[in-house]
């Protein structure tokens, strides 16, 4: 497996983890609450849920997100967040 494919796989896995995190925030299933990976994260979660998800993701991937990294480029959508975490790992 090439490096590019490996990164893609990792990012896809992280995307799925984030999606599970979001669904768990609502104790809900995908059928009744659909959202796209390029939807604005703030239209899916409230900021308290985003804060909680960040803490979960930091623990799960053993990473430390600095406050200076909390930008729309890194956190704006599920896709951007997944790419950011993949880079941090």
């Amino acid at each position: 497996m090439g490096t590019a494919t490996a990164i893609l796989r990792t990012t896809m896995d992280i995307t799925e983890t984030i999606r599970v995190c979001i669904r768990e925030s609502f104790q809900d299933d995908e059928q009744s609450f659909d959202f796209g990976n390029d939807d604005e994260l703030l239209t899916i979660l409230d900021s308290l849920q985003i804060l909680r998800m960040l803490i979960d993701l930091e623990t799960q991937y053993s990473i430390k997100v600095e406050n200076s990294e909390l930008t729309p480029e890194n956190l704006g959508t599920v896709d951007r967040l997944a790419a950011f975490i993949a880079k941090k790992k």
């Binding site: 104790q27 009744s32 609450f33 239209t43 900021s47 804060l51 960040l54 909390l70 930008t71 956190l75």
Partner: protein, 416 residues
């Protein structure tokens, strides 16, 4: 049967619907009863109207809209949102994840409802007053005694709405009819700061500021109570509301506990301001307003029906429904912080009239935060929009219970 009598003070307000508490439920009850033809006496313990919203600086009003941003309950709740949107260009509907809220300056809310109440000619307001005694005759409340700045007054009401938020009237009827169960939901302390840089709280910078405060609470730089502190953007660009969560040290009914909590809140508030002023975008921050302690759960009545968390989760409907609600179960735990349990997408539940009524007292309704509900259902139903809708229903029922002359004659005969 004459239960208690004080026999002091002037007698006034014969036949009026008496509404105690001028918060969300009480305002709605008073307006609703007046519009149903009753003469209304609105008794408020503070010098201002507005209850928790204007007093505790609630700036994000919940419970007015459904998941699609449409009005949840028609009537006075809708009328209020329209008046608030009209009163100030800064008032706006905002989507917070899947919930819609109304962002409004608490002072605009207070001015709007003061003007509204002043224009309702059937309502007379008694400020800085508190009911201290009542006489119950069989299944009716016959007389209320209240203290106010110019002494004590008595009212012989036709109907009474307890919208005190802590069931003060129901406690006078029978203290065992009020549930003060443990653990008590945390109180809220909000203060307003101005002078911060514009966009200082734009997403996701606000998340970073909150994280910084919470980390400082863990390292000891800020008091441990700041572990659940929250910052919310206000209605103006240079404004933020800082929200602290305070675990009660005892019963909210105990004045010593209240004073201790308030002193503690003031100390934490000063520490948070000093801390914020060290952050680059907050160097110009100044406190412009401090709210009073917001008590989320000051006690709930044991009514004819107790709404439960399971009713909320199941989206239960009732034949005697008075309003709808879809707000999540938002429980504030002093130790663990806030937890939000959302209803399934698109679901809502109803609140029955029986949750606003007691068995055995015909002319008393309890509306708003002191409705009959378990802790979980209360954590959802207590939001402002729902309190307005509950109050409207209670006020209408109280006005309808107003006996006409013939009924009153029959009624008096019964008691002779």
């Amino acid at each position: 049967m004459l239960k208690r009598r004080t026999g002091r003070g002037d007698s006034t307000g014969e036949d009026a619907v008496v509404v105690c508490g001028a918060g969300a439920a009480g305002l709605a009850a008073a307006i609703s009863a007046a519009r149903h033809g009753a003469r209304v006496v609105l008794v408020e313990q503070c010098s201002e109207l507005g209850g928790t919203v204007s007093g505790a600086l609630i700036h994000t009003l919940a419970g007015f809209y459904d998941a699609t941003g449409q009005i949840m309950n028609d009537g006075l709740a809708r009328e209020l949102t329209e008046r608030l949107l009209h009163a100030d260009a800064a008032t706006r509907c905002r989507k917070m994840s899947r919930l819609w809220v109304l962002n409004v300056c608490p002072n605009v809310y207070r001015r709007t409802i003061e003007r509204w109440i002043a224009a309702e000619r059937r309502i007379s307001v008694i400020h800085s007053a508190q009911v201290i005694d009542l006489i119950r005759c069989g299944d009716r409340i016959e007389e209320l005694t209240f203290s106010c700045p110019d002494g004590q007054k008595c009212i012989r009401p036709r109907a009474v709405v307890d919208a005190t938020g802590s069931a003060q009237l129901v406690r006078l009827v029978d203290a065992s009819l009020v549930l003060d169960d443990l653990p008590r939901a945390a109180g809220g302390w909000i203060f307003r700061i101005r002078g911060i840089d514009e966009h200082a709280l734009d997403f996701p910078k606000g998340v970073a500021v909150v994280r910084t405060i919470r980390m400082a609470a863990r390292t000891g730089e800020l008091p441990p109570e700041c572990a659940h502190a929250w910052l919310d953007s206000g209605v103006h660009a240079d404004e933020a509301f800082v929200k602290l969560m305070l675990a009660p040290k005892g019963s909210w009914q105990d004045p010593r506990c209240l004073v201790q909590t308030i002193l503690q809140a003031e100390r934490i508030q000063a520490a948070v301001l000093r801390f914020l002023q060290k952050l680059p975008e907050f160097t110009g921050a100044e406190i412009t307003q401090t709210g009073r302690l917001g008590v989320r759960d000051g006690g709930r009545i044991r009514g004819r029906y107790t709404l439960t968390g399971d009713d909320v989760r199941a989206g239960r409907t009732f034949p005697d429904a008075v309003c709808r609600c879809d707000w999540p179960i938002e429980y504030w735990d002093g130790e663990k912080g806030v937890s939000l349990e959302y209803l399934p997408a698109g679901a809502h539940y109803e609140i029955p009239m029986r949750s606003l009524q007691l068995s055995g007292v015909q002319n008393l309704w309890a509306a708003g935060k002191c409705l009959s509900a378990d802790r979980e259902a209360h954590a959802s139903a207590r939001v402002v929009g729902t309190c307005w809708a509950m109050g409207e229903a209670a006020g209408a029922a109280a006005a309808r219970s107003f006996p006409n002359k013939e009924e009153r004659g029959a009624h008096e005969h019964e008691y002779v």
